[in-house]
Symmetry: C2
Subunit: 348 residues, 2 copies
DNA sequence: AAAAGCATAGACAGCGTTGTCATAACAAGC
DNA sequence: GCTTGTTATGACAACGCTGTCTATGCTTTT
């Protein structure tokens, strides 16, 4: 079916322009512009006339024209490569909430793999006319990307980066300390054989969490059995696979610490497949406090990571840099050990 | 810290323009424009010169200028009010994938509540300069919204709408038939006391699923006990609450059918709290095949709803309407009953 | 060899806005 | 009443691009 002569109304054409409002209100376009940009020196009476005319014509400023003349796009890109929908939505919501009253809009850039984005981000940003980038893990950890953007003086902010703190703005938590706390919790419960399920080796957050795990073991003078180190990809499925391998081993660990909740949930599923009681026979701990940690049974002991808040603050940092050229250094937000039902004293 | 005199590079100013490319390539701006818009009548040699110059200057067409002169924004809005992150991400990914090679960009509009958006969508669309809207459930079911947009001839497409098929384009599945199939499955397993956990009463998908449930019972001449109807809000937490009420009742049902997976997972958690074996003592069924249905133990029997594909097709329909004024009527995609481990024969 | 046709290229206006600069209105100070 | 200063308003160019129209070559046809 085809529309005949009637035009569609999504287009910009046909909409009232600043000239129409000026004409109807008996003022000039410049005055209308002043009103819509809250510039001073407009008499209240004039302002009202303009506003009335605008309302009558259903006038909305044309963003394209505004962007063109100002040389700004008011577009910010959120780049992420993350297998966990919960995490992604938290990120988006945080950024959107911060952007809500600003004139900026958020563009999504889901990336297949962080590796093949290396060195391409600046080009993409330029092509889309972005004014700033938010790099979610692990994109903020790519050295080439950070170097490229810094070199070009292109505004960006990294969320939860783990590479050595450069001068670039970032918002995150202390992954090492958090992993250390979780490990201490397991040690305090009497666990000695603790398996660690790594996340994607390309995500440096994984390296940090593993480091924290090792530090805590070292504190208590426990020699870690490398056989208890297994690797996943941060996805639920990879957690299931890791869990199956771990529980099939001759000497089973009494606790498993997974580098994120999705994998911990996978490990939990593998435990159930094998008929293991959690936390009776094996304790399982995660990391992130994502929705999935509350959905499974028993609910997972985890690290509460303020993803939403990190994204919100990161967006604020980026905005400050774009709008006022303020350069905020690295920000660390607080994390919290959340003890729930999946961990219990070791009995062996 | 403040940047001194060096300018930030996110802005559009300072970037190469079409005039620069024309000058460097020894052509006119119109020819450069032709090259970048794949217009005919440009000699290969000229094209190459232009492209080389563009590459050398790192030229990218200014979207704002392009939008302005064309009277188009190339912006599409995705409106959703959905408590399930998995669903939302599927929706986004479907839309983004379809948009990938088009010049359009997607803007996100998470809505607090569909009700208070009623009658405001057109204004928001106009204010943001959108060319089209994708309405995810339940926004596509608001009569006032649909009426307003249709009236204004504003391009939009609804995902999984359930209201009486108007002439407006929509992509969805047959919720009634799907719920009927699931109910038959439970009946075939010998269940007779089946509780139904409703979703948000404001989401008409809920009404449809309940209707399908009732139809299947009627087919088998089973009088449904209204006490077995409980209500949630499509969230995991509301499912937990409903499950607790259901299992606290004097005569427990042998099966529970929840209107979505999140609630079914909640019911499952409530069952575990009470020490009930699933599916031994009670079968639980969900709807959606969202990630959560695979994460819990036992994995949930559910209806596989192609959310990603629905969003992708809906975007295609919208694009066709915007670009070529093609008007596609309602499209129904296939669903599938996915029998997993949470349902088993009734034994009583 | 002239005319006609087509492929190729450029000049220029205009899209809807904001910035700059000029001007008008009005109050205050002498 | 005349200057001065401040407040309020408007004329006009410019932002970077595409659409329209016109001009220039180069073939082909007569």
């Amino acid at each position: 079916m085809q529309f005949t002569d009637v035009e569609e109304r999504g287009r910009t054409r046909g909409r009232a322009t600043i000239t129409d409002v000026a004409a109807l209100s008996g003022t000039s376009i410049k005055t209308v512009s002043r009103v819509f940009n809250d510039e001073p020196f407009v008499r209240p009476a004039t302002r009202k006339r303009v506003l009335d005319a605008a309302a009558q014509l259903d006038y909305h400023p044309n963003m394209a024209a505004r962007s063109l003349v100002r040389g700004r796009s008011f577009l910010i890109g959120l780049f992420y490569e993350n297998p966990s929908p919960n995490y992604v939505v938290d990120l988006q919501t945080g950024a959107l909430d911060r952007l809500h009253d600003e004139r900026f809009q958020l563009l999504l850039f889901p990336c297949e793999s962080a590796a093949n984005m290396s060195g391409r981000l600046l080009g993409i940003a330029r092509a889309s006319g972005l004014e700033g980038l938010i790099l979610a893990p692990p994109l903020g950890d790519d050295a080439a990307t950070v170097e490229e953007l810094t070199q070009a003086r292109f505004p960006f902010v990294r969320i939860a980066p783990t590479t050595a703190p450069t001068a670039s703005p970032a918002v995150g938590i202390d992954d090492i300390a958090a992993a250390r706390e979780m490990t201490r919790h397991l040690l305090d419960l009497g666990h000695r054989r603790i398996a660690f399920v790594q996340g994607d080796p390309n995500h440096p957050s994984n390296t940090q969490r593993l480091a924290g795990f090792r530090e805590a073991l070292a504190e208590r003078r426990i020699v870690h059995d490398e056989a208890l180190l297994d690797g996943g990809l941060y996805t639920f499925e990879s957690g299931v696979a890791a869990g199956r391998r771990i529980f099939a081993a001759a000497t089973r660990p009494t606790a498993v610490f997974a580098a994120n909740d999705d994998m911990a949930a996978g490990v939990l599923l593998a435990a159930k497949e094998r008929g293991l009681d959690v936390p009776g026979q094996v304790s399982i701990a995660g990391f992130d406090d994502s929705l999935i940690s509350r959905v499974v049974w028993p609910q997972l002991t985890t690290i509460c990571q303020p993803t939403y808040e990190m994204a919100k603050q990161a967006t604020g940092v980026l905005l400050a840099r774009i709008e006022r050229r303020e350069f905020t250094a690295e920000t660390r937000l607080a994390h919290r050990l959340l003890i729930r039902a999946s961990t219990a004293p070791a009995r062996n």
